[in-house]
């Protein structure tokens, strides 16, 4: 095992839990990022559910703003990727799969993996086990068999 960082992992996890708990306590919603993003996209045209739209937009603004703050204070939290065609193509395909899959299954790592499990949802548990297994299989094939990931 390498690069194991238990302290920052637990501390980061606690902050994510704090944000998720605050979202439920204050706004009565789950802090699943794909759900919030798709919820905003869905709520844009109808203009009916003002409170919902405002919450989604404000939360996402905070998420992006938080990223900007981290990038300023601690650039090492991010890493540069090479900009060759293979890497760009890999990220583009991955983005499509992540968007399509999280929409279809109704959640992502945060929605199913954190919020759903916290609510003891069997659906979220199944989704989490499936996407973990798929992720492990993908890295095994893409990295070790095909050499697509450096």
């Amino acid at each position: 095992m390498h690069n194991f960082t238990p302290v920052s992992a637990i501390f980061g996890g606690l902050l994510i839990a704090l944000a998720a708990a605050a979202t439920l306590f204050l706004h009565g919603r789950l802090a699943g990022i794909s759900g919030i993003l798709f919820g905003l996209v869905d709520a844009l045209p109808d203009g009916l559910d003002e409170a919902r739209r405002v919450f989604y937009a404000a939360f996402l603004a905070g998420l992006v703003l938080g990223g900007v703050v981290i990038a300023r204070l601690w650039p090492l939290a991010f890493e540069s990727q090479s900009s060759d065609g293979a890497t760009l193509g890999r990220f583009a395909i991955a983005g499509l799969l992540v968007g399509f899959g999280s929409r279809l299954s109704g959640g992502c790592t945060s929605g199913h993996g954190v919020c759903g499990l916290s609510l003891r949802s069997p659906r979220a548990l199944v989704a989490t086990l499936v996407f973990m297994a798929a992720g492990v299989a993908t890295v095994a094939v893409a990295k070790h068999l095909l050499g697509l990931i450096p």
């Binding site: 994510i16 839990a17 708990a21 439920l24 919450f55 929409r103 199944v126």
Partner: protein, 121 residues
């Protein structure tokens, strides 16, 4: 300060805390995610602890929050009503996992600016 503005500011602050958690946990670095999923290479278990910490706290506080009549700033709790474990769930989660493993990014970190600020050299 009026309550609508308070709700907005708190939602922004909550999103920032979430991003901060992702950044500190290492989830904004695709290589960290890929190392976590790399069971057949140099496995890095860190992200299991991120999830364990978040879920343990969530398991503890969620029932306590949901015992309230309503959330603090909204009329009622809005939770997913879908319970089915069906094909869209299984297929969607599998497709999501493939994308997650391929680039090491899930929606939260992907929305944070994962390209670093240009370093002066």
């Amino acid at each position: 300060m009026n309550s609508a503005l308070t709700a907005r500011l708190l939602a922004v602050a909550t999103g920032m805390v979430f991003a901060l958690g992702l950044g500190i946990a290492g989830m904004t670095r695709p290589s960290k995610i890929i190392d976590f999923l790399d069971f057949f290479g140099a496995w890095d278990a860190s992200l299991a602890l991120v999830m364990a910490a978040a879920v343990l706290v969530g398991l503890g506080v969620s029932p306590w929050i949901l015992r309230r009549q309503s959330p603090r700033l909204a009329p009622r709790f809005v939770l997913p009503e879908v319970r089915a474990i069906d094909c869209p769930l299984l297929f969607g989660a599998a497709v999501f996992g493939i994308g997650w493993g391929l680039a090491g990014l899930c929606p939260g970190p992907a929305l944070s600016p994962w390209r670093p600020a240009r370093r002066r050299s």
